[in-house]
Symmetry: C2
Subunit: 741 residues, 2 copies
Amino acid sequence: MTTNKNTIYYTLTDEAPSLATCSLLPIVRTFTKAADIDVKITDISLAGRVLSAFPENLTEAQRVEDGLAFLGQLTQDPDANIIKLPNISASIPQLKACIKELQAQGYQVPDYPEAPANADEEAIKARYSKILGSAVNPVLREGNSDRRAPPAVKAYARKFPHSMGKWSKASRSHADYMRDGDFFSSEQSITVAEPTQVRIEFLDQNGQVEVKKELGLEKGEILDSMRMSCNALRAFFEETLQDAKESGVMWSLHVKATMMKVSHPIVFGHAVTVFYKDLFEKHGELFKELGVNPNNGIGSVYDKIASLPRSKREEIEEDIHACYENRPELAMVDSVKKITNLHVPSDVIVDASMPAMIRNGGQMWGPDGKPKDTKAVMPESTYARIYQEMINFCKTNGAFDPTTMGTVPNVGLMAKKAEEYGSHDKTFEIQAPGIMRVVDAQGTVLMQHDVEVGDIWRACQTKDEAVRDWVKLAVNRARLSATPAIFWLDAERAHDMQLKNKVEHYLQEHDTQGLDLHIMSYNEAIRFSMERMIRGLDTISVTGNVLRDYLTDLFPIMELGTSAKMLSIVPMLNGGGMYETGAGGSAPKHVQQVEEENHLRWDSLGEFLALAVSLEDMGRKQNNQRASILAKTLDAATGRLLENNKSPSRKTGELDNRGSHFYLGMYWAQEVAQQQEDPTLAAQFADLAKTLAENEAQIVAELAACQGKPAELDGYYHANRDTVKKVMRPSATLNTALASV
Amino acid sequence: MTTNKNTIYYTLTDEAPSLATCSLLPIVRTFTKAADIDVKITDISLAGRVLSAFPENLTEAQRVEDGLAFLGQLTQDPDANIIKLPNISASIPQLKACIKELQAQGYQVPDYPEAPANADEEAIKARYSKILGSAVNPVLREGNSDRRAPPAVKAYARKFPHSMGKWSKASRSHADYMRDGDFFSSEQSITVAEPTQVRIEFLDQNGQVEVKKELGLEKGEILDSMRMSCNALRAFFEETLQDAKESGVMWSLHVKATMMKVSHPIVFGHAVTVFYKDLFEKHGELFKELGVNPNNGIGSVYDKIASLPRSKREEIEEDIHACYENRPELAMVDSVKKITNLHVPSDVIVDASMPAMIRNGGQMWGPDGKPKDTKAVMPESTYARIYQEMINFCKTNGAFDPTTMGTVPNVGLMAKKAEEYGSHDKTFEIQAPGIMRVVDAQGTVLMQHDVEVGDIWRACQTKDEAVRDWVKLAVNRARLSATPAIFWLDAERAHDMQLKNKVEHYLQEHDTQGLDLHIMSYNEAIRFSMERMIRGLDTISVTGNVLRDYLTDLFPIMELGTSAKMLSIVPMLNGGGMYETGAGGSAPKHVQQVEEENHLRWDSLGEFLALAVSLEDMGRKQNNQRASILAKTLDAATGRLLENNKSPSRKTGELDNRGSHFYLGMYWAQEVAQQQEDPTLAAQFADLAKTLAENEAQIVAELAACQGKPAELDGYYHANRDTVKKVMRPSATLNTALASV
């Protein structure tokens, strides 16, 4: 793997980021080749992962490399340098759409067998299950997470603040969560002293034991178990619906059905069947026959009844509408298309939807297209409480002010699938009353829960090595940023108390002299951080994995208007580095705009920032002087781009993603040409700098000219790369200039 | 003063407590005389204070002792033992009513000269000003404050919880306060190293200096100064009115115009003239002529226009009503009588009104007599923030549960008029633009504020000795109660940071080993205490004077339904003790019920509790064994009274204050008769115990028989004592039994 010393692996993902890559990479490579750096594309798109999972179904020519497996191995290489763009965490409907598209393109990949009828179909489903949901990150994130707003980005937000909705002191909006019967209230946690094997068992009421899973645990590993009561969950949904109806607020559900791909679709499904209780009571049998799966949303009902005779279909549709009479208004995903919050589980993702609501003065969109106060329902209380804390804070202090507020960077525990929140392979929907328990090799019961039918039980692992590295990262970050750092550890969570022991232990390995380190409960920590934030002060949040995921959207969206502008680094346990670009999802709406009007509003700022840190690390680690120069000049170029407002506009006809790439290229060339550390390099880029500046108007015009008419991409999940390249590189002048370097 | 060793000074105050005293004291004396303890009455009622202020206007026979001055001296006596009942903190309208009543009774006390026309009237006003507002407590409170819920009371609340309104998670209610321009934002504070003289000066724009006040400061004394901007205050009122109108919540004002007798009436007056802006703009000149004083509320307008010709009066009344069109609904004091929140400054007192609102699910009463969500306006932000914190907490966690919640006792800084919140003699309404400043003997400017016309400027003192004693009291209380104690000190308040230095210094004088002591900002402290409280845990609040006043209503009203049931002790700096009974005010409505139906619902529990601690301290200090026995048996009797639910009912015809006194007497006699420490004493009370038990039905019947018809008290502020005694002791059987001991 010696070649990796000079290689940046740049991921090809999905939707908007993948389109942007086609425009950006030719520019990037123009620069990196001057430093002998190879920028290699690795395909980890949803389509790519589907294709690589079924080589035997494909022709030789159709077969593709398993990019994700390759990168997974690469993470172990101390020289690994990976730039990771946002990809689709596929829901079942998305996976099915992708399969359908591939099949239409002539790839004979199998259908997704929702209810496998035989062993073959079981096997197919098993392969697909590895593609669903949060499938990429757990493979690549072989380290903890270090995320922060780069100074240039923060300065930009202070100068050009994004819009913030006004918060009324009399707002009725609030977060609502279970007070009992959820994972939080039942969490148990242990740390094993020595390496051991444990079994997750189900003990039924007849004393029969079924082994659900065997796990090898490392020395010092933390294992949690917890149970969400189905009855409590459904009672909670009913109660919140009645409360919202009575108090006249909208009702909205915020889960993460894509990432928490086992537990949250079930939770979502219960919301659907409680909300549409009368409907499911009346047509339950028929729905079962039709294969309606409420976990896929009320959309599943519409899908499945499409084949029914018109009169029956209309009866059911009327019954759906009748449900709305007795229920509170539902928050809408698209009020024009009448897509509600309960239509599809992948539309509303808590870590994005809650910050959006809070940024919007606590309001979501109602059926009439108007913003309204909302009850934000997040059944599991562990993390929901922080949103209520922020809502109360905004009611009291008003909306955050991007021009003055401080920043809350994050150091997140993530390595070795720590606190892997999906816990896909250790989550079970209980089929019979009994006991779920964790038993060690000696037969000692380590943890156990009484369970009832429908309960969700899950276990979760956290490896000692990951925690130790996380503590180190937190100390380093606090030192480098000279900023107070708060470990968010809740005294009422069994898991966090195990973690706290380790934190206190591993902190002793470091010189913490002069550092301002604290351990606080989540509510204390967010309040402390917000109080500082509105006074312009910064506070590092040092958190577990789920909070990492949530907070690195929540705070950036308040501070910067988006989480896509965050610097997101994964310093790998083995020494390599992964540089993630944005956490803003892969933006399906952006693709729609390209298809309709050939305007890509995707902002590649995250890519610019990630590339700069990637080059900086490579320069330092490989003693590549030119890489260091490219890093510094790229940062300077990015600063100028922001300062001169050359980021993509949302409006067709104005500067889009491609135009911003041009400006980045021009500024970068100018910066390289002006630097004096390496005159040879400067000379190399003098011409390009000159050409681009002279042809600025021409290039911008060419990039604008293509807009305003539909663009054909020959596919959505698996677009034709050549077609896309043509679409994304429409300026002959720019293409020529780049080629001439 | 050797006689004081065996004397309890029992204050005669106003309204309901003074009526109750006439029934209770004969019972109490029956017991105390057995321990050679004399219970002496000292008159500190409003009428008594007025009479004693003008001896030269009265006949020899009419003259009365200055009870307050006497008690003031007594506080310096190490043997002082004072039981202090609630008295009227008179507003100007109350004072005037009292004067009118006295004059009608033939006492030639002078009228209150609101706008003195000459030196004589100035002198009269000056004498009356010492009677207004919080005039009693500053004289008597020669020590700090130690308040807590007695275990029997807490047990009673857990067993028989008071009603608590439901909090909706979607409640619109909130506290609103100034974000700038208030006292909080302008506070400055110094500690003087040595004894010194300072001048409070006004420097006008021509450089002329006017000395407003000279102050002698002790070594280590803290002096604060602060300014509330009139413009900012009026803009704030306008903003809150518009916001409440827009968001559809009621508007309510919560100040403490009685105690903060200089600053808060001015603040209240601004609220009146901003709310009724159009009215005051149109009729301002006329109102001036008529002597309307908006600081006395809109009621002042009604009073003063009463003499106008009917047509003019009706025009003005119409203009008043027109104001309501453009304003939010006003919270009502009495919706039947159409008495609004802005009618009289003494009706709504923040420390009672805010707990009542919070206890009532965040709602106050609207013009239609229905409970409604309310914007609670408290201009000064220093303390208003704690109410918003509690409101947010209740929205999130629901109403407090008296059956499970912990308790928050208070150790309050109060001695030597520390943080005297009225700051009556150091508060100024600014008449011209310029500078208010504090200058020392050397001419050095210690603090200064730019001021504009209408601004309110005030200074406030806190003596070192008081702080030192307060810290000692906190440490003792934390040790005795084995409970965490929080010093509420706000890092953003200049005064509190001076205090913090002293706290940290004086804590070193004590053994704090094993104590759980913290210093927190107000928001942190209340949140910390509430989080513990809902988990059944207790937390001592160690606070300054105003927070003492507010918190000893706020928490007791949540925990016990009333603050009147708190044990409230002032351990005097010189060694004596004052035992205050309840902080629930003197209950004018109770008197009304007596006058109309001869039922007194006043609960003397506070008196029972105070008397027990008074006896306990006397027993210990004077080695009076019988006093100790009386204390213990009284506590036991009180416990039985609560347990058997023999407290007064609110309903005419049922057991009232007099009946509960009977039961206390019976239980007390039984307890004394049963104790074995002092057989002689036991024997002395055996007969009484027997007689009362045997005649229980008869006595209760006699006490009920008098009810249901009007009772004549021959005066309100200055009722005829003999008449009152007859009214309050209607049971011949009881009277005879007591007399026979």
